[in-house]
C-alpha cells in the first residue's frame, strides 16, 4: 500500500513538474485581432422573399442612402433574404476610434441602416423607445450609462 501511495505521489509530482515546465516554455498570446474586421460584410436576415426586399433590383431605404457595397441572397430554410452590406470607406487607427466615439463610423452607419431596413420591411416601422418621454433624473452612474446607451441603438447582431 505504501508503495502504491509513493508511486502515485511520484507520478503526481512528475506531472506537476512537466506542467510547470511546459507553462514556462509557452508565451502568453494576446487575443487575436480579426484581420478582416474592417472589411467584413455586415448581415441581417429579413423575413421577406428577395423580390419583396429589392423589387426590380432597387435597394430599400434607408440602406439605399448609405455609401456601401450591398449583396443579397435567399436565406436557407425559408427564412427570407440574407442582405449584406459593408461601407466603401474605411477608417483605421485613431481616426476610426474617433469616428466610433462621434457615432459616424461608416460601419456603424451601415449596421444601423441594415437594422432599420429590416424593421421597415418586416413591420412597416422602426420602433422608438419611451426614453424620449423621459422620466429619469440625472445621476453620475446615469451619465456613464447614458454614454453606453447612446451607442446601444447602433449595435445588435441581428
Amino acid at each position: 500500500m505504501k508503495r502504491l501511495i509513493a508511486g502515485a505521489a511520484a507520478l503526481a509530482a512528475a506531472g506537476l513538474g512537466a506542467a510547470r515546465w511546459a507553462a514556462s516554455r509557452r508565451r502568453v498570446q494576446a487575443a487575436a485581432k480579426d484581420p478582416l474586421e474592417s472589411s467584413r460584410w455586415l448581415g441581417v436576415t429579413i423575413n421577406r422573399p428577395p423580390d419583396e426586399v429589392a423589387p426590380g433590383g432597387h435597394l430599400p431605404d434607408p440602406l439605399a442612402r448609405v455609401d456601401a457595397e450591398v449583396r443579397m441572397n435567399r436565406a436557407p430554410g425559408d427564412r427570407g433574404t440574407e442582405i449584406y452590406a459593408r461601407p466603401r470607406e474605411h477608417r483605421a487607427g485613431a481616426e476610426g476610434v474617433l469616428a466610433r466615439l462621434r457615432g459616424d463610423d461608416p460601419r456603424t452607419v451601415v449596421r444601423t441602416a441594415l437594422r432599420e431596413t429590416k424593421s421597415l420591411l418586416e413591420t412597416g416601422d422602426v420602433l422608438r423607445s419611451d426614453e424620449e418621454l423621459g422620466t429619469t433624473r440625472p445621476t453620475m452612474p446615469g451619465k456613464v450609462l447614458d454614454m453606453a446607451l447612446g451607442r446601444a441603438a447602433e449595435g445588435g447582431r441581428l
Binding site: 427564412r79 420602433l127 423607445s129 419611451d130 423621459g134 422620466t135 445621476t139 453606453a148 446601444a152
Partner: protein, 391 residues
C-alpha cells in the same frame, strides 16, 4: 400622471411623470387598471440587472383599457379591455412568426446592450431596464403599448380583472416551462419555487397530463397555497434533502421534467448559499444558480430541465458533467406569452386555471413602495401585491 419609479438599489418612490404618448403608428395607450409585482422585479430592485436609471417606471404584468390608438392599429379600438403580454413582439419577424416571441428582432430599440451581454438581441420588455428597450413600466396610470395588435389581448366578458391579470406573465411563463420542458401524460414533474410562476408551472404540468407534480419551496404559506390551489405535492427544502426525497418518491429515478422557477437570487440552507452569496457580492459571478444545480442533479437520466427563473449573466460551478453524462436536455427562455395567452384566457374562463388567488394583497399605486417591501420580504404571506392605479 402618477407612476412608481426605481430610484436606486432598494429604493422606490411614487412620482408625477409626463404622460405617455403614441410614438409609433402601431402604438396604443392603455389606462392601467391592475398591475402586479413580479419576482423578476426584485432583481431590478436589488441592482442585479444593469442599465436601470433613476426615475425609470417599473412593472410589466398588467391589464387595462385602451384609451388611444395610433393610425395603423387594426385589431383593437378605444374601450377594449385588454391583458398585455409583458414581452413586446413585432409579430412579423421570423422569431415571432415561429411563436418565439421573446426572441423578437424588431422590438428592442437598444439591441447593442443585449447583443454585447448575450451574443444576440432579444425582445423589448415593459419596465425592465434600458437593456430591454427602455420602455416604461406598468405601475402607472397609463402606459404606451407598442405593436398593440400583437401584444394586447381582449379579455372576454365574464373574466374578472384579477383573473385576467396573471395571463400577462405568470400564467404563460409557467405554462411555457411545462410545455417546452416536454411534460407529457404520465410524467413526474418537479418545480423549484412556489411563487406565482412556479405555481402556474405546476398547474400547467397537471393540465398537460403529468401523473405526479411536486413543488419545492421554503415558505410554509406558499407551500400550503400551492397544495391547496394547485393540488400538487410539496416539499419544504429547509427540512428535507430535496434530491433524496425526490428519488424516494420516484422509484429512484428522479423527476422526468424539472422546472426551475427561482432565478438569479436563489436561496438554500446549505454551504452553497454562503459560497454563491459571497461570489455574487464580490461580482465574481452575477447570478446564484442554486436551484438550477439541484434540478440538474435531481433530474432522471435522459430527462429535461427548463430554466424559467430570470438569469442575467455568468454563474459558477455549473454541473456540466452531470448534464452531459446523464443525457439531459436543458432549455430556457423569457416567456413567449403571445403563444399562450389566448388559450390561457379560455382555460381561465372554463375554470381549469385559477389565478386570482395569487393576488394576496391589493393596494393603491401610492402604496407601491410598501407593496414591494411586503413582496420582497414575504411579509404577511405576500405572494403578489397588485396595484390599482385608479382605486
Amino acid at each position: 400622471m402618477k407612476a412608481l419609479c426605481w430610484q436606486g438599489v432598494n429604493e422606490l418612490s411614487v412620482e408625477q411623470v409626463p404622460d405617455p404618448a403614441i410614438l409609433n403608428a402601431q402604438d396604443a395607450i392603455v389606462k392601467v387598471t391592475a398591475s402586479t409585482t413580479c419576482g423578476s422585479d426584485l432583481h431590478l430592485l436589488g441592482g442585479y440587472i444593469p442599465a436601470m436609471r433613476a426615475g425609470d417606471v417599473i412593472g410589466h404584468e398588467f391589464i387595462g383599457e385602451i384609451v388611444d390608438v395610433g393610425p395603423e392599429v387594426n385589431r383593437h379600438r378605444v374601450g377594449d379591455r385588454v391583458v398585455v403580454c409583458s414581452i413586446i413582439g413585432c409579430g412579423r419577424c421570423w422569431a415571432c412568426r415561429h411563436d418565439e416571441w421573446s426572441l423578437c428582432e424588431n422590438s428592442n430599440p437598444k439591441p447593442g446592450v443585449t447583443d454585447l451581454m448575450w451574443g444576440g438581441t432579444t425582445a423589448g420588455i415593459f419596465g425592465y431596464s434600458h437593456a430591454m428597450g427602455g420602455f416604461r413600466g406598468s405601475h402607472a396610470e397609463y402606459i404606451r403599448v407598442p405593436f398593440v395588435d400583437y401584444n394586447a389581448f381582449t379579455v372576454p366578458e365574464g373574466i374578472a380583472d384579477l383573473d385576467a391579470l396573471f395571463a400577462s406573465d405568470a400564467a404563460p411563463t409557467g405554462w411555457m416551462g411545462a410545455e417546452l420542458g416536454g411534460v407529457k401524460p404520465g410524467d413526474v414533474v418537479a418545480v423549484w419555487g412556489c411563487g406565482a410562476v412556479g405555481q402556474m408551472a405546476a398547474r400547467a404540468a397537471m393540465l398537460l397530463g403529468a401523473e405526479r407534480v411536486i413543488a419545492i419551496d421554503r415558505y410554509p404559506e406558499r407551500l400550503a397555497m400551492t397544495a391547496r390551489h394547485v393540488g400538487c405535492e410539496v416539499i419544504d427544502y429547509t427540512s428535507t434533502d430535496v434530491t433524496a426525497e425526490l428519488r424516494e418518491r420516484t422509484g429512484g429515478r428522479g423527476p422526468d421534467v424539472c422546472v426551475e422557477a427561482v432565478g438569479m437570487e436563489a436561496d438554500s440552507t446549505g454551504i452553497q448559499r454562503v459560497y454563491d452569496g459571497i461570489k455574487q457580492q464580490l461580482r465574481l459571478e452575477q447570478d446564484r444558480p442554486i436551484a438550477v444545480r439541484e434540478a440538474i442533479h435531481a433530474c432522471r437520466k435522459g430527462g429535461s430541465v427548463f430554466v424559467l427563473g430570470v438569469f442575467a449573466g455568468f454563474v459558477d460551478k455549473f454541473p456540466l458533467g452531470a448534464l452531459m453524462n446523464k443525457g439531459l436536455t436543458l432549455r430556457g427562455a423569457q416567456q413567449h406569452g403571445q403563444r399562450y395567452i389566448p388559450k390561457l384566457l379560455d382555460r381561465i374562463a372554463k375554470g381549469d386555471l385559477k389565478t386570482s388567488y395569487l393576488a394576496t394583497h391589493t393596494m393603491t399605486l401610492d402604496e407601491g413602495p410598501k407593496g414591494y417591501d411586503m413582496f420582497k420580504h414575504k411579509k404577511d404571506g405576500c405572494v403578489r401585491a397588485v396595484f390599482r392605479p385608479w382605486a
